[in-house]
């Protein structure tokens, strides 16, 4: 006999157990309809694996475990699945949860099942999986999946296995009767658990009010080789609580917030042990359990072996419950059970008792009085808490303090409520407080998550704006570059027959050199901090301008003949704005330059460079605009352009002359060269004039050849319409190629060391790459074709859909406003109604076409 270690507190409520132990366990009749919740255990609900209308056999799996903490569910009898829908389930809330309903056929036909001949030959993990697949969950209280408890991993060393047969709650005798009638199952089950956990000792905790059961159990244990101790504990509620029983039998306390396994102890309910035995030796999953049906209203209080999913009403009928005297229906024991309002609720794996109480045995609780701090609750609390402090804190919603007073160590056994002289529903206060704390924590987690997501989103949006800015800049740069490139290519590519272009070119080149020289002079002067910087600068600018004009003239001359074919009327506007923008930019830059120069600023040079650039751009834009305009005006004739270019050349010449004059006046060293430039410009001008004249003659003869547009639609008809199977095959082909290629590549990588094969492999890879490419190209072509083919119809369809939806929304919105108008008795009502009618018509029209189309 083991020593017994008392735990603090506890109570001695009237036992009321004798009533239901008189009759032997009886099989409850098979109900017409089984309602089997898919979650009867702690953890994830099982996933239904049957369809409505399917025939199932007894013991067939109908929902399989998903996730680590879960167990599967089996059909309790044979029949047809009629429904998988939410039904009222055994829960204090009375809420509904998903259930599988089976209409039984009365045959009770078993699915083929077979036990394990020798479970010891199976590896432990497989055996645990076997138990999981047979739906075994704790049958004592919470319904914790048994396989989880049996598979603790290597971090838990189990030295004590406790079999909980205490059954301390009043009224309940299911375990008692199970021991009395089926002790050999329990012994078999213990042997299986022993094989899985290999504990150093095994204890069966049983209360001393079950003398008969203890005797039977002792007899049964003679047949086993295991060393199992039956520890008879004094009858005291709640000695069957897991933590209390652990303390009673071992003297060890399970640390707060931990599980017994953390101190090397595993507890199993005795009913679960028997279920394991049945599953392993007979292959029968957990589809029935022993339920005590008792209470003052029960004519024949007894224990029934009921199929999981049997509605309670059937059991009440079997126990001949008098519905007239029945006042309270409790599922579970009187201390921790819950009342149920609906007797269609089914029996589940954890339902150990149904009490059909008359008013006298469970009178309605008298109104609660004030707490007088009598301390009786504290004396009764098996968790050694201060129930009245917890009560005050819960009542005044000081949850933080309640937590500090170890609220979460409360096992909700109800001992405090039982002894309270003021009839305060203490347990309900604790449950309420626990729920609130958990809800608050969940809320806090959720709001933290929301904050994170919100901040992440903000960051993303900001980044997007930045990225956009960067991309815009890049694009602008790219555009500038391409423009420059175009310019360059234009220059080279333009092969106009006109001679004057060449001359213009040279003129431009000359002005450019002049410009350069002026620049270098300026720089030299600057370096010497000479006095005449300003003048030189002016010269430089003028020269610059001249050079530019010349360049433009050249460009114009070059592009002139091409203008008619490339430019179109709408471009003009754009060009105009571009030109205007360029001008303003130039002006601004010039101003800035001036200011900078006045101040002798360092950045003047760079600014100057910008100004030059801008000038260039502005001029180009202006030019483009002008040429576009003229080209449209002259409907394709290069004449006007030429005219203008001559004008420009004239202007340049004049300016160059003026620049020369000033340069001479200032005794500039560049004056000589500028002079030469002017001469050349003059020549250019005359030539340009000549070109213009000749062009004028040409205009009459040139006709405007218009480019015919290639019908683009033809292209779309090109792709051949192949069957989708083809596409699939192609896709597969591609992926096969890809894999082959990859394999070859990896082979190549490994083979590189011994180079014999390397060459070959490389060739192979090249070949494969080609193959892959081909396949891919084929596929791409196919897909593109498909998409195009679909586009012709699809776009219409989508648009139509959207239109229809919008019309519908308009109708609802109008309806709403009409309602409002009605409420406000508005004058607009009529108008609104008319509008509504129109909108409705439209909506129906859309809907009709849509339905036709679809």
């Amino acid at each position: 006999m083991s020593k017994i270690f008392a735990f603090h507190g506890g109570i001695h409520p009237p036992e009321n157990k004798k009533q239901s132990t008189r009759a032997p366990i009886r099989l409850a009749p098979i109900p017409e309809q089984l309602t089997i919740p898919i979650q009867q255990h702690i953890g994830a609900p099982a996933k239904p694996c049957v369809q409505v209308g399917e025939q199932v056999l007894k013991g067939q799996m109908i929902a399989e475990a998903q996730g680590r903490i879960s167990v599967s569910i089996h059909a309790s009898s044979s029949g047809t699945i009629t429904d998988i829908s939410p039904q009222a389930v055994p829960h204090p809330s009375g809420l509904e949860a998903p259930c599988i309903r089976i209409k039984t056929d009365g045959q009770d036909q078993w699915a083929p099942h077979q036990g394990l001949a020798d479970y010891r030959s199976l590896p432990q993990l497989e055996l645990i999986d076997y138990i999981r697949n047979h739906g075994i969950a704790g049958m004592g209280g919470a319904g914790f999946p048994t396989d989880v408890k049996l598979h603790l991993g290597d971090d838990h060393i189990v030295n004590t296995l406790i079999i909980n047969a205490a059954e301390c709650e009043p009224y309940i005798t299911a375990d008692d009767m199970l021991i009395r009638e089926r002790a050999e199952q329990i012994v078999g089950g213990i042997e299986i658990i022993n094989y899985l956990l290999n504990p150093t000792h095994i204890l069966i905790g049983i209360e001393d009010n079950k003398a008969h059961a203890i005797r039977v159990l002792e007899d049964a244990l003679r047949h086993t080789e295991l060393n199992i101790d039956i520890v008879v504990v004094p009858t005291k509620y709640p000695s069957g609580g897991e933590k209390q029983l652990v303390r009673l039998l071992t003297g060890v306390e399970v640390p707060s917030g931990r599980i017994p396994a953390d101190v090397g102890i595993v507890c199993q309910n005795i009913g679960t042990v028997a279920a394991i035995n049945q599953a392993v030796f007979h292959g029968t999953p957990l589809i029935s359990r022993i339920v005590t049906v008792t209470g003052g209203a029960a004519g024949k209080p007894q224990n029934l072996e009921a199929l999981i999913g049997t509605p309670i009403s059937d059991l009440l009928e079997t126990a001949q419950v008098n519905h007239k005297t029945l006042s309270r229906l409790v599922m579970g024991g009187p201390m921790m059970g819950f009342t149920i309002e609906d007797d269609a609720i089914p029996i589940i794996k954890t339902s150990n008792c149904i009490i059909a109480a008359v008013k006298e045995e469970m009178p309605p609780a008298p109104p609660s009085q004030a707490c007088i701090r009598c301390g009786l609750c504290e004396q009764a609390c098996p968790a050694e808490l201060l129930p009245q402090q917890l009560f005050w804190f819960s009542k005044s919603r000081e949850f933080e303090k309640a937590k500090h007073h170890n609220l979460f160590d409360c096992i909700e056994c109800g001992a405090c409520s039982y002894v309270c002289p003021s009839n305060i529903p203490l347990v309900q206060y604790y449950r309420f407080a626990k729920n609130e704390i958990r809800a608050e924590e969940a809320e806090q987690r959720k709001s933290d998550q929301a904050r994170q997501r919100f901040e992440a989103r903000q960051a993303r949006l900001e980044q997007a704006v930045l990225d956009k800015e960067i991309r815009r800049k890049e694009r602008a740069e790219q555009a500038a570059k391409t423009q420059a490139a175009k310019k360059a290519s234009n220059e080279t590519a333009a092969k106009t027959p006109e001679d004057n272009i060449k001359q213009l070119k040279t003129a431009a080149a000359i002005t450019r050199t002049k410009l350069k020289k002026a620049l270098s002079a300026l720089e030299v002067a600057k370096a010497d901090s000479s006095d005449n910087i300003a003048q030189l600068d002016l010269q430089y600018k003028q020269a610059d301008h001249a050079a530019e004009e010349a360049q433009k003239a050249l460009e114009l001359a070059q592009s002139g003949p091409q203008v008619p074919t490339t430019s179109a009327a709408p471009d003009i506007k754009q060009l105009k704005t571009q030109a205007a923008v360029a001008r303003t930019k130039l002006k601004k830059a010039q101003q800035a330059l001036k200011i900078a120069e006045d101040k002798g600023h360092d950045g003047a040079d760079t600014l100057r460079a910008t100004v030059v650039q801008l000038e260039e751009k502005s001029a180009a834009a202006q030019l483009a605009f002008a040429s576009a305009e003229t080209s449209t005006a002259s409907s394709g004739s290069p004449l006007l352009a030429l005219k203008e270019s001559t004008d420009k050349a004239l202007g340049t010449l004049k300016k160059a002359e003026a620049a020369l004059e000033t340069a001479i006046a200032n005794n500039s060293p560049a004056a000589e060269k500028m002079k030469a430039g002017v001469v050349k410009l003059k020549a250019k001008y005359t030539e340009a004039l000549a070109a213009q004249k000749s062009a004028e003659l040409n205009t009459q003869t040139t006709s405007a050849p218009k480019a015919t547009e290639v019908p683009a639609q033809n292209v779309e008809q090109q792709p051949t319409a192949r069957t989708p199977a083809d596409l699939k095959a192609l896709k597969q082909n591609v992926s096969i190629m890809r894999t082959k290629l990859k394999k070859a590549e990896t082979l190549f990588a490994s083979a590189e060391a011994d180079s014999e094969q390397a060459g070959e492999l490389q060739q192979e890879i090249v070949r494969l790459t080609q193959l892959h490419k081909d396949a891919k190209a084929q596929l791409d072509a196919e897909e593109a074709g498909k998409i195009k083919a679909a586009a012709a119809q699809g776009i219409d369809l989508k648009k139509l859909k959207i239109d229809a939806a919008l019309a519908r929304a308009a109708v609802t919105k109008l309806e709403r406003s009409i309602k409002k108008a009605q409420e406000a008795e508005s004058a607009e009502l009529n108008a609104l109604q008319n509008e509504l009618l129109a909108a409705q018509q439209q909506a129906t029209q859309f809907n009709n076409t849509l339905s036709q189309f679809e």
């Binding site: 735990f7 603090h8 109570i11 409520p13 204090p92 933590k243 303390r247 399970v254 640390p255 707060s256 917030g257 519905h323 029945l326 309270r328 409790v330 579970g332 009187p334 201390m335 921790m336 059970g337 819950f338 009342t339 149920i340 309002e341 007797d343 009490i355 109480a357 469970m362 309605p364 609780a365 009085q369 004030a370 007088i372 701090r373 009598c374 301390g375 009786l376 504290e378 004396q379 098996p382 968790a383 050694e384 808490l385 201060l386 009245q388 303090k401 500090h404 007073h405 170890n406 160590d409 909700e412 109800g414 409520s417 039982y418 002894v419 002289p421 003021s422 009839n423 347990v427 309900q428």
Partner: protein
């Protein structure tokens, strides 16, 4: 079938607050009998008078606070308070003194704090302390045990007592008043305890006081047996008082009274079993109750020996009531599965 959804548990122990109160009142019966036996009808008359007043005051307060009347009156707590006040007051206390005491206890010390279960101080002791301070003359005038007067049991007739209490006190006062043994011991002048014992008539008849104390203790043991309160408070109270008294008695038997005297005269026994065990105003946990009791015991001895008042049960209990929340914070029991008890409001381990 009208089924209701109620939270568990579905069965309750057939105890009630009213029942507990009734039991405590019953447990005072031996004390009441002893008081009547030795000091006359005054005690009984006071109890009835005080109870009537208490119920009246309670009813008025409940009415004023818009609370259900019969529900609260049925809990017997007002009557218990009244009985305790009546037992603590001198047997021939004038009617108005009792009335003031009951008013203070029920209205001020109890209902103004929020009624039953909410009072931080024991109402009876608040009332006692108040009248003791306000009316020292009336309060210190006890009668001598009637055994003094002649042969055998000879107490004042019932009607005479009535007229004494409800009539004019002053006319008869001197004829009956006498100091209590504690008074005698305090105001013995330069005499040693030994001389005082020999000199004083009152002290010669201290046996009556012993008997009354024994009667209270009997009631207390009954309550203890019935598990109305735990042993912690009275045991700690009596042991600490006895211990200190023994200590000083050993040091100087001439200056200090013996421990037996301390334990059996004055309000010691009444306080230990009926007042200090009042759950509402005492410490909560068992450990806390021990500290609570020790505090009372020490304070009683200190005030009795070196203070201004002859008896100190009321003051000591009130002072410890004040300390009860503090004690509670530092004497939380170690909960199941925890290594160490939590201390303080923040629950630091």
């Amino acid at each position: 079938m009208a089924l209701i959804r109620i939270t568990s548990p579905h069965v309750h122990k057939p105890t009630s607050t009213a029942g507990i109160m009734r039991l405590v009142i019953l447990a005072t019966l031996p004390g009441i009998l002893a008081m009547t036996f030795f000091f006359g009808w005054g005690t009984l008359i006071n109890i009835i008078w005080a109870s009537a007043l208490a119920v009246t005051f309670e009813a008025l307060c409940i009415k004023a606070r818009h609370r259900p009347l019969s529900f609260y009156l049925k809990d017997n707590s007002a009557i218990l308070t009244a009985v305790l006040i009546a037992l603590a007051l001198p047997p021939f206390a004038p009617w108005w003194l009792t009335a003031i005491a009951v008013f203070v206890a029920i209205v001020i010390a109890k209902q103004l704090y929020g009624g039953i279960g909410q009072n931080p101080f024991n109402p009876a002791m608040v009332a006692y302390a108040l009248v003791l301070i306000s009316f020292p003359v009336e309060m210190t005038r006890w009668t001598a045990p009637f055994m003094l007067y002649g042969e055998g049991w000879n107490i004042l007739a019932f009607t005479d007592t009535l007229s004494l209490i409800f009539g004019s006190w002053a006319e008869h006062a001197d004829a009956f008043t006498s100091a209590t043994p504690l008074d005698e011991m305090r105001h013995r002048g330069g005499l040693t305890t030994e001389e005082a014992w020999r000199a004083s008539d009152v002290l010669a008849n201290v046996g009556a006081w012993h008997a009354v104390s024994a009667a209270y203790a009997m009631g207390g043991v009954l309550l203890l047996y019935k598990k109305i309160f735990s042993w912690h408070t009275p045991a700690a109270f009596l042991l600490s008082l006895g211990g200190i008294a023994t200590f000083f008695y050993i040091i100087s038997p001439d200056t200090y009274a013996d421990p037996f005297f301390h334990l059996t005269v004055g309000g010691t026994m009444l306080g230990a079993f009926f007042i200090a065990t009042d759950p509402v105003s005492s410490a909560t946990s068992n450990k806390g109750k021990i500290w609570f009791g020790i505090g009372i015991g020490c304070l009683i001895y200190i005030i009795r020996t070196w203070g201004n008042y002859p008896d100190a049960v009321a003051f000591s209990i009130l002072l410890m009531n004040l300390a009860a929340p503090f004690i509670d914070q530092y004497t939380q029991p170690r909960a199941y599965g925890h290594k160490a008890p939590k201390r303080g409001m923040k629950g630091k381990a």
